[in-house]
Symmetry: none
Subunit: 267 residues, 3 copies
Amino acid sequence: MVVDTVDTARREQGRRGFSDIMTFDPPDDTSPATTGLLDFVFAEVWSRPGLSRRDRRFVTLACVADADAPQPLDDHVYAALNSGDVSIVEMREAVLHFAVYAGWPKASRLNGVVDAQWARIHAERGTEAPPPEPLLPLTTASDPEERLQGGERHFAEINCLPFAPARDNPYQGAGILNFVFGEMWVRPGLDMKARRLITVACVAFQDAPIPIDSHVYAALKSGDVSFDEMDELALHFAVYSGWPKASHLNGVIAAQQARVRAEREAA
Amino acid sequence: MVVDTVDTARREQGRRGFSDIMTFDPPDDTSPATTGLLDFVFAEVWSRPGLSRRDRRFVTLACVADADAPQPLDDHVYAALNSGDVSIVEMREAVLHFAVYAGWPKASRLNGVVDAQWARIHAERGTEAPPPEPLLPLTTASDPEERLQGGERHFAEINCLPFAPARDNPYQGAGILNFVFGEMWVRPGLDMKARRLITVACVAFQDAPIPIDSHVYAALKSGDVSFDEMDELALHFAVYSGWPKASHLNGVIAAQQARVRAEREAA
Amino acid sequence: MVVDTVDTARREQGRRGFSDIMTFDPPDDTSPATTGLLDFVFAEVWSRPGLSRRDRRFVTLACVADADAPQPLDDHVYAALNSGDVSIVEMREAVLHFAVYAGWPKASRLNGVVDAQWARIHAERGTEAPPPEPLLPLTTASDPEERLQGGERHFAEINCLPFAPARDNPYQGAGILNFVFGEMWVRPGLDMKARRLITVACVAFQDAPIPIDSHVYAALKSGDVSFDEMDELALHFAVYSGWPKASHLNGVIAAQQARVRAEREAA
């Protein structure tokens, strides 16, 4: 006879954590991947203090939208909206922010999932989804030169840098200055901390060496994300995007914390 | 005694193909990955007729920029520019196009690699890199309402669809209509076929189900990419982004070819 | 005063597990990502019975080579070779197998890492790396028609299917039949179980819907990977490529186990 060595208290905590966070019942199967999900991810990680449940939502949403698994994506979009942790206006802005940092095809799917899960929540509640917020007027300038100037100013502020990139390069000028920092980052509807969390998750799965350094630095330097929150983010990210990328992120965080600390001491 | 059964004619063809395409000497090591690269990728794939060498450059560049391996990225950017197959203006527009379809962090790295390899080529030639093309004036409208209207029109034309998405959604309105189709796709400097090839590669590695269908359809429907070229693209993509994703792409291509053929017959 | 609630026995087990598996000392930092790595990944996952340590190596290597984090990749290649769990001949064949299922750019980097870590191991031991094995005699035909015929036969055998794909499509003919099954899968130097484990990890991170079904099915149907080993693989994969993709894989495994079980009962 096989002795059952399941730690039942831990499993029970995982099941309660799952129900609470996902807003529906945990799965019943006993496969290693599912029991690991309950015993580790929901019993131990989500309940840790360093990062709020709302903050963890934005990291999770970015990671599952990158990961391409249909069911987890549906489930996490549903849970974020159904719990009330993320409003529909914030969620729709998050899709645009994610599009920039993870690519439009994945964002297109996420956009469709948001529509479907928002409709499902209203169907379950017997209510009607409110009409979308009107897009116009934009809060940013229309004139190309003014947009570029705004983009240069916002780029420097948001990245905590004393300069902006050169304009006469399509990626930097028409892209980064004109759209990404000239318009997208400064749209209303989503607070700066949420934008930082999504961005850090995205640069961590996209793997390019300089953006991961610069966005971890700016999130810490601006004070939008505390040192402890950023440490905790690396563990949460490990669960949803895998340990190798998280190990790399963890090393980047340590280096950028040292850099910000040195700058504060020198100030 | 081990009889060396290397097919020397095939190996020689691979070495010649490598030199010709990469514009530098092939590696000398005899590891299976390197000999497979020579015997299959360079002896058999790049030399196939279905897709021109220039066309293969755009697919390759998108795939290696997604794949995050530094040396292959340096090598393929260098080879595309050094061979003259892709001009620096086209390459810089390709970076912006890639940013939208694969995510800005990866594009940021690609942008830096282009700068470095372009400088290297000029250093090797003892020449000076010409100054960048000026960004302004934009060829697209500045007024937000006009940009959205232009975006709606270009979205329909480029996607070969009779409609455009709803505006009052940040992803679709501020993103797709205002920037992606309101500005990016219609910028000068890169022809429509090259944009199609980059896009198809990106939607194939991004994995979201609807964008891969719609962009393969539009590339075929518009006639910018022929049926045979698209079939050949799936093989080239397999080499650079892996067979599982290519297998999926190959199935999508067959379905979209059938759809376009049926529409042509019905017309 | 903060009471230290670390489970010291679990942490100690994690540190011992790390040393044993990685063949070097565990990190000393107490960041959440590192303590999670010790307390969960090394204390609990690697020591589970369902999958041997050697089997876990092949899954891990594929996942870290996909994940693009430089240090974890160096570390796991080093550990796999230094422990003796994977021989250099097997490792070099694994790189070629990985190239096909994850794309050549990532494999090219992996190939370089293998060279560097193999040299490092010999430097540490004060020995000289043996000369590379002469490229093993190809067991496959040179004649194109014979290669295609062999590819069709091996495709059916390895995929446990009664048919092979049509030849007259570049992806399927020149790619799948001529090279992937006409040559790569039947090379000597790496056993079928290791090839199955690498392939399942790759189709799980590549996300294409049909290859994940067909390769999980074939691994189970052939008996090369047992039902329990495959269940365990999903948990190991969760750690290295993230839970969303692993949840999807876990669902595919359940479905393919049911399919194989039904076929066995019907036989």
